[in-house]
């Protein structure tokens, strides 16, 4: 039987070297055919060398270890390597997937090597279903952590440069002629994007439209008081005056 082959991937060079040295001691017969520095390289190396095992760092530029695993699961066995990722580790444990924690300890590596040897004896790949299930659940978790779909920054022209205003900082948006006024606690900026486009792109959990020409950041609301005419008056923490909720936008407040 020809020796088993492995590809290592870690963006930090010395960690790659370290793992290689440890593997040489724990598994001298294993042939390490390539070391990759980023996710794209790792996938290319796996496709080129067709190794039996790929040791993948999870956090890599270009493409994360998770994404590489999703694409390469049918080609080789995956061993994840991570410094700290409690959600991922929990998921790996649940599905009995192989993983190593950095700094890699020789005893732990020896156990993993033992397991890999047993499973790879007949050179048959495991059922990729558990791996795919874990990746899918982690993807949902990762997506929940970073909802990239909503606007996070508003770019405003400021002298020669483009200022970036974090949406958390913005108290409200108000339409003014052809422009939209962006108000933070201390400053005001004019942007060209109209209110109706902004409301589509902002996170509806935090940004509430209360008038055809006004969007407020719910996190900045100080108090909401019912007005004499059956509507609601909002006061913002930024002391930028009061805002009356117009007829079409009252429903949100009625249920409060």
């Amino acid at each position: 039987m020809p020796p088993l082959k492995a590809v290592l991937a870690d963006d930090e060079k010395s960690l790659c070297v370290h793992l290689k040295n440890l593997l040489r001691q724990a598994w001298p017969e294993l042939q390490i055919c390539a070391e990759a520095r980023n996710g794209l390289e790792a996938l290319a190396m796996i496709e080129k060398h067709r190794p039996d095992i790929a040791f993948l760092d999870i956090k890599m530029p270009g493409m994360s270890g998770m994404e590489v695993a999703r694409k390469a699961a049918a080609l080789c066995r995956i061993v994840f390597v991570t410094a700290y990722d409690q959600f991922a580790v929990q998921a790996f444990e649940n599905e009995a997937l192989d993983y190593l924690l950095k700094p890699v300890e020789p005893e732990r590596l020896a156990r993993t090597v033992q397991r890999l040897k047993e499973r790879l004896q007949n050179r048959k790949l495991d059922d990729p279903a558990p791996l795919q299930a874990v990746l899918k659940s982690l993807q949902i978790h990762l997506a929940a952590g970073a909802p990239a779909t909503y606007l996070k920054w508003i770019k405003v022209p400021d002298r020669q440069s483009l200022r970036l205003i974090a949406v958390e900082e913005i108290c409200c948006f108000q339409a003014q002629d052809k422009y939209t006024v962006v108000r933070t606690e201390r400053e005001e900026f004019l942007i060209r994007k109209p209110i109706r486009e902004l409301i589509e792109e902002l996170d509806p959990q935090t940004f509430w439209q209360i008038h055809r020409s006004t969007i407020v950041n719910a996190a900045w609301i100080d108090k909401i008081s019912p007005s004499l005419t059956g509507s609601y008056v909002l006061t913002l923490k930024s002391r930028s005056g009061t805002f009356t909720v117009s007829r079409g936008y009252r429903d949100r407040f009625k249920s409060m």
Partner: protein, 348 residues
């Protein structure tokens, strides 16, 4: 000029009306005994009519015209008192149906009512206005107290967040594995990295507990942090730090620069395959101390939101320097992010 924050939205309150009635009763008693020429009830009816109409008109006029200055308020009250006196006087005369000698003869009745109204009305109005101002001051004190308490709570919270942010487990374990591997392959570099980690941890732990540090030790902390990343990212990270030696001893708030550097390295540079450069510059100009952290990474839109970390810096700048402390984020040219902290420059 004093400006009035209190603005009435309604007419007089029951309490004010009650006090006015009491006040008018006292006037009626006074007038009855001073002149002793008419029944008490007639004086009482006229006084009540005048008092209550002045009170209603004063409150109504303040709500309507919302005077912002002392003179404005005095003018409005004067008009309201005169109008109230005329209306109340006419009503009182009609209700009581008695011509009292104090207000003798129809010709001078109006004039006398006016004089009385202005005299007693002014006293009454002065009483009510000072009462309102007093309660306004009380309210302001209360508000200030609440604000101080919340800002203290915020300070503790942001300190906790800072602590959690520094001992970021991913950073710690990755750095430890690097040190471990270097100790085997290149012991000298390994030792140096261990030194940098120790310096970084010691400085950051000590600094979260003290409110003030110096710009020099902040830069040292950032330097140790970047040294660690230079090893970890190898040739993917280039570092330029510029600071005038004279600025070293300037007092500076701890852990304001480090999060910006961390954002630049982790979200901007380490996330790209080719890496890039980080430039840190501290300079003083026109009474301002300006610290610039610029990177040539992937730019801010691409990475995860850093809003909370930056909000934390902004909050602390606000707490320490008020409106004079600013954090400005712009796009760096040709790529990446440029973050600038501006605080008033105070020579050491």
């Amino acid at each position: 000029m004093v400006s009035y924050r209190w603005q009435r939205k309604k007419g007089p309150t029951l309490k004010e009306l009650g006090l006015t009635a009491l006040f008018s009763t006292i006037i009626a008693v006074l007038l009855t005994y001073t002149y002793a020429d008419g029944p008490f009830w007639a004086y009482w009816v006229i006084s009540q009519c005048i008092g209550l109409s002045i009170c209603t008109l004063c409150c109504g006029c303040i709500a309507l015209f919302k005077p912002q200055t002392t003179w404005g308020l005095a003018g409005v009250l004067m008009l309201a008192i005169i109008a109230g006196g005329i209306i109340g006087g006419a009503m009182g005369a009609w209700l009581s149906g008695i011509e009292l000698p104090v207000f003798t003869y129809k010709k001078t009745y109006g004039l006398r009512v006016l004089v009385m109204s202005l005299l007693f009305g002014s006293v009454g109005a002065y009483f009510f206005v000072s009462r309102a101002r007093f309660s306004e001051i009380q309210e302001m004190l209360q508000e200030e107290r609440i604000q101080r308490l919340t800002s203290e709570k915020h300070a503790v919270q942001s300190q906790l967040k800072m602590l959690q942010a520094q001992i970021e487990p991913h950073f710690l374990f990755n750095t430890l594995s690097n040190i471990l591997s270097l100790l085997e392959t290149d012991a000298d570099r390994g030792k140096k990295m261990l030194g940098d980690l120790t310096r970084y941890l010691r400085a950051s732990l000590a600094e979260t507990r003290s409110q003030w540090s110096t710009l020099g030790s902040e830069m040292e902390l950032v330097g140790a942090y970047l040294n660690i990343f230079k090893v970890r990212m190898d040739d993917r990270l280039k570092v330029h730090i510029e600071m005038d030696a004279a600025l070293k001893e300037i007092p500076f708030a701890p852990m304001l620069i480090q999060p910006l550097v961390e954002n630049a390295v982790i979200h901007g540079l380490d996330a790209t395959i080719e890496g890039g450069a980080i430039q840190i510059r501290a300079e003083q100009e026109n009474g301002l101390l300006r610290i610039t952290v610029a990177d040539t990474g992937q730019g801010i839109g691409a990475g995860p939101s850093q809003g909370l970390g930056l909000a934390n810096i902004r909050e602390r700048l606000n707490a320490l320097y008020g409106r004079q402390g600013r954090l400005i984020i712009t796009e760096n040219q040709p790529r990446g992010v440029k973050a600038v902290i501006e605080v008033p420059y105070a020579a050491a």
